[in-house]
Structure formats: C-alpha cells, structure tokens
C-alpha cells in the first residue's frame, strides 16, 4: 500500500494554537462562552472575597431572615438575591456553591483524565493481554454509567467511613466517585489516539534511536494524544457537575450545610411553587448557564480541533 492522501495534507504552516486563538476571537458565541466561563472561575476562586457574607460565621444563617425575596422584589437591601429557607444570603451561598461545584467538577475530571490517560497509554502502548483486560474493564465500567456507579460507591463510602466522617469527606468522596466512574472515556480516547500514533513512523524512529519505552510513551506519544483530551475535558466537567447535581437530588451529594449548586437546587426544589421560587430558580439558572457555557466551549473546541474522540 502506498500512502493515503489524507496523511500527507500538510497542516497549515502557522502555529496551530495561534490559528485556534484567532478563530476563537472571530467567533462571538465562543468568545462570550469563554468570557462567562472565566467569570465563573473568577467567582469560584474569589468567592470568599466576593461574597457579602462569610458563610462560616455562625451568624450567617439566621432563620429569622428566612425566605426574603430578591432585592428587586422585597426591597430588602441586605440580600441582593434574597435568602433561602434557612435565612442564608442566596448570593453568598451561590458563590460558594459555584466554587464547590466547579471544584468538584474540575477535580473529578482531573482524576478521570489522569487515570484515563495512564490506563489508555499503557493499554494502547503495551497492547495484548493488558490491553484486552483493561479495555474489557472499561467496557463494563462504561456501560454502568456514572450515576449507577456513584450511587453504589457513595453507599460503600458512607458505610466504610461512617456518617460523620462522610460528612467531612463528602466533597472528596464525590470527586473520587465521579472521577473514578468515567475514566474509560478518557482511556478509550487516549488509547485510540495512541494506537493511531503508535503506527506513526516517528515512534519507530525513536525506538531505533534506542530511546526507552517509558520515554517514548510519555515524551513522544502522549503530547500528540492530548487534543481530544482537551475537548472531552470541558464536556466532562459539565457532565461531572450535572452528575453531582443529580446525586444531590437523590440525597447522595454534598451535605445541606455545605451545599453545591446541585444541592442548593434540590433543597430549593420544594419551594419552587410555594412562592419562594428564587430559592430554586437562581441556583438552577446559575448551574444551567455554567453547563451551557462549558458545553459550548467543548463544542467549539471539537469543531475546530477536529480530534478523534472515542466513539466505538
């Protein structure tokens, strides 16, 4: 077989990142998404400084202030977005909730990615039995879906560490569970790229030079497989945040006194139609916008990096 045309169409000569950047700036929706996302990150990082109230202060939660409507309705200038059923300032709670949700999302996906990349790399590079075993495990894991795994795992963790302990570890647990549940996606994507990269001659060239497999794996192959990871990354963060929200809805997420956006929504849910709609609506909107933005960023990256993410 001779060469395939596709392989030899030269990429554009100017650096791919600058190209992506200019494309990005050209796309209004993408720029807006990025701006919003950066805003969210900013909010998440500086939540303690931005929040009008310190949520750790024992006076923060005052039942006497419960269910005050947002300022533009109630005219109460103390609480811009009103208060929830426990008398907490919605704005502060949402700021901290965003911080928590994002932290959980990002950390969980970091775990997924690390695990997935290592497994995918090993599986793809070594091949054979190892590959077969790992991918079979990934298949099974994948077909169980995060939610199923999370429900089961959280129950185990709750049991192993005891309830009180779980309380303190809830965030760590969620990160771990969501992180552990979706590694196969990364693993398979990476593996697919590794298999493709491994065929390429630069790998052989490195081997001919006598470079060690470990170095080839991490220095040569890995950097070339990271594009799809970037795409999956954004989308997975949004998935992780939604998963956490759904777990909260089932009562397996963050505890009520340390709420993520998801927990806020599920707590506020019962107030939805009882007049205090803002308790539910405001965090929902916050969450939906965040996820929407992440998805749009992911879409944009997918369209423009055009990577081969794992599909079959």
């Amino acid at each position: 077989m001779k060469y395939f045309k596709k392989d030899i169409i030269p990429p554009t000569p100017n650096s791919r990142w600058s190209h992506i950047w200019t494309g990005f700036i050209g796309d209004k929706l993408a720029t807006l998404s990025l701006a919003i996302f950066v805003f969210y990150c900013f909010v998440a990082i500086f939540a303690p400084l931005l929040a009008p109230y310190n949520i750790n202060n024992p006076n923060f939660m005052d039942l006497a202030n419960a269910e005050i409507a947002p300022r533009w309705i109630s005219g109460d200038s103390r609480f811009l977005l009103g208060t929830d059923a426990q008398g907490r300032d919605m704005l502060s709670v949402i700021l901290y909730g965003t911080r928590l949700s994002l932290t959980i999302g990002v950390c969980a996906v970091l775990i997924q990615a690390t695990l997935g990349i290592c497994i995918g790399l090993i599986s793809g590079y070594l091949g054979g039995r190892t590959d077969n075993f790992l991918m079979r495990a990934a298949d099974i894991q994948l077909s169980f879906s995060t939610m199923m795994v999370a429900i089961v795992f959280l129950a185990i963790f709750q049991a192993l560490f005891g309830m009180a302990m779980y309380q303190q570890l809830a965030m760590l647990m969620l990160i771990l569970v969501i992180g552990l549940a979706e590694w196969p996606l990364f693993a398979r994507t990476i593996r697919a790229s590794v298999l493709a990269e491994k065929q390429k001659e630069y790998v052989d060239a490195a081997r001919i030079m006598g470079i060690s497999p470990k170095r080839i794996m991490f220095k040569h192959i890995l950097p070339n497989t990271l594009t799809p990871v970037l795409v999956i990354f954004t989308v997975q963060i949004s998935n992780a945040i939604v998963a956490e929200a759904a777990l909260s809805f089932l009562g397996l997420g963050m505890p009520a006194n340390d709420p993520s956006l998801g927990a806020l929504i599920s707590v506020g849910f019962s107030y939805m139609f009882s007049g205090s709609w803002w308790i539910c609506v405001i965090p929902s909107v916050t969450l939906i916008i965040l996820i929407l933005v992440m998805n749009m960023l992911g879409d944009w990256l997918r369209d423009h990096l055009n990577p081969r993410t794992y599909k079959d």
Binding site: M1, K5, I8, P13
Partner: protein
C-alpha cells in the same frame, strides 16, 4: 462542437476569513473521444478542477466565476436535480483511492444497480444483468459472486475495477479519472490504465486523466495540460510536451525524472516546492523556483501564447518567440 468547454474558471477557498484562489483562470476544451491529461505537483489544483467539472467542490471551496459548458449547457448554474441528471450519466468520475470510494456498508451489487436505476427506469433484474456484464467487461472473474460481496472483501485493484465498472454503466460521454492508480501496485496500475484506455477507445468516451505520473500520461493522453499553483501553465499534445517542453516548470518536471539523468549521477532537481494556497507569490507563481525569473515575472502574470502546437504562459517563452519573430522580421527586412 466541443463536448466540454471550461472557460476562465476561478475557484476560491474560504479559509480562516481569507478568500484564497485555488484555481485561477483555467480554460480548456475537451472533444468527444478525446483523452486529456492534467499533470502537476500535489496541490496544483488538479483535483479541484476535476470536482468543479461535476460541480462537486466542497465547502469551504466554491466556484467564483467562469463557466463550464457541457454541450452548451452551463454546469455551474444548474440546479441539483439537473446536476444529478448530468452526473453519472454524462460525466462520470473515478477517484484516487479505491479503498475509500465504495460505501463500506453496501454490497457491490447495490452500488452498481442503484447507479443505473437512478437514471433509467428499468427493473432490478435487468439492471443486475447490465451490472454483471460490466463487471465482466472490466475483467472481474466470477462477477455473479462479487455482486453480493462487500467492498472490504475485495482487493484494491479489484475495487478500482468495480469503480470503473460503475462509471461505465451508463456509458457517459466524459470520464474524469483523478489519479486512478496512485494507490495501486505497479503491475495492477498498468492493467487499470490499459483497461481505461481500451474502454475509452472502444466506446469513444472522452477521458480527463488527472495524474502526476508523466509516464502514465504519456501512455494514455493525447493532449496534456500542465498546472502549477492553480493555473494552467502549458497545454499541448502530450508528445510535444514531453519531447519539447516550453515552460520552465514543465522542463524542470521532466528533467527531474531519474530517466533523464545518467545512472549514478545527480538528478536535475528544481529548487523549492509548490507554495501552499495562502503563500502564493505575486506575478508568475513559479518565479521563486524558476532559474530564468526576471523582475517582470515577479510582478506580472504572463498571458498565454502559442508556441508551436502548444500554449504556454511564460514571459521567457514569450520573449523567445518575440525574438524569433523579431529575427524573422529582421530577416524579412
């Protein structure tokens, strides 16, 4: 009357906010039963020219201006149903890579029969008979068996033959073959080329062969068009072009062939390589690589002039001819 005439065709690509010309001012004609080759290096715009003729230029490319007339019918402005009428029935196309050209999930038979049935009202059985007959005519052994097989069960050469059979089904007037043999082995390549040649001769079909292999071209085509960076630089009878190339690029191309050098000696290389779309130089696009380039070449685009039986776009040739005329004039005086 010409079967196909392409006039001042411009095809552009919209890339990253830039509008880049991929084909510039291409004109040529094709007569019934004529075999023309288009040669040039990778990226010269040969395939795009081929696709333009059936109006299949993909986004982000588009036909900017110019006309493509199939017996006075303008192809560039046709509606989709009209186009589908023309495609396959009047103009058929063979692609470079037989591995990717057949739909992997449909049997050979389905892909053959559908081509007939979408142009003529005929029963499946009759269509099948025609298909099998065509498979036979491209020298596929036991076509009945192949008929129900999937493309992946066939070797590359066989697939290319199936593709040729598909193309022949409706006896089109023109076959465009875009590097039909690049992906194949030398021995098979020779067979396929021979097959194409025989078919065209026997059915008096016109052939537009796109290739970069001058050897193949010399075997098949009566006339040759040489392209460089989106433009036609030279056009003429194949023999003439091979034996007496006018344009420095054509010369370079031919001289670079190993056959042109003594064994073990250095080859005559052309410096540099074809610029990508967004780095096309001003003036004559070949000037950075041309040993004879002058300031004029850097600034102006040469126009076509006749040089013997060929047409060439080169200032040097122009000058030479003018000089010759001059000499003639002087001599005459």
């Amino acid at each position: 009357m010409n079967l196909l005439s392409v006039n001042n065709l411009h095809v552009n690509f919209h890339l990253k906010g830039q509008d880049l010309p991929a084909l510039i001012d291409v004109s040529f004609t094709l007569n019934r039963g004529e075999r023309i080759a288009i040669v040039g290096e990778s990226g010269a715009g040969k395939s795009i020219l081929g696709f333009s003729i059936v109006n299949l230029v993909d986004k982000p490319g588009y036909i900017k201006s110019g006309s493509i007339k199939l017996q006075n019918k303008e192809i560039t402005t046709m509606s989709l149903p009209q186009l589908q009428e023309v495609r396959g029935k009047r103009i058929a196309m063979i692609f470079q890579d037989p591995m990717m050209t057949l739909n992997p999930v449909l049997t050979i038979g389905v892909q053959l029969v559908e081509a007939i049935r979408s142009h003529t009202r005929i029963s499946f059985k009759d269509a099948k008979n025609i298909a099998i007959e065509k498979l036979h005519s491209v020298q596929i052994a036991s076509p009945e068996k192949r008929f129900n097989q999937y493309p992946h069960e066939l070797s590359g050469g066989m697939r290319q033959r199936v593709i040729i059979a598909t193309v022949l089904l409706l006896n089109p007037d023109i076959i465009i073959a875009d590097e039909p043999t690049t992906a194949l082995d030398v021995t098979i390549q020779a067979e396929i080329i021979q097959l194409l040649l025989d078919i065209c001769r026997n059915n008096s079909m016109a052939l537009l062969l796109i290739s970069h292999d001058l050897g193949v071209v010399s075997r098949v085509a009566e006339r040759t068009i040489v392209m460089y960076a989106g433009r036609v630089v030279e056009e003429g009878p194949t023999l003439e072009i091979i034996n007496d190339p006018q344009h420095p690029y054509t010369q370079g191309l031919l001289n670079a062939l190993p056959q042109m050098a003594l064994p073990g000696q250095r080859l005559n290389q052309i410096q540099g390589s074809m610029p990508p779309l967004n780095e096309r130089p001003s003036g004559c696009a070949f000037h950075p690589r041309c040993p004879y380039a002058t300031d004029q070449c850097r600034q102006q685009q040469p126009s076509f002039i006749h040089s013997g039986v060929s047409t060439v776009a080169c200032f040097m040739v122009e000058d030479m001819i003018n000089d010759a005329h001059h000499d003639d004039d002087e001599e005459n005086r």
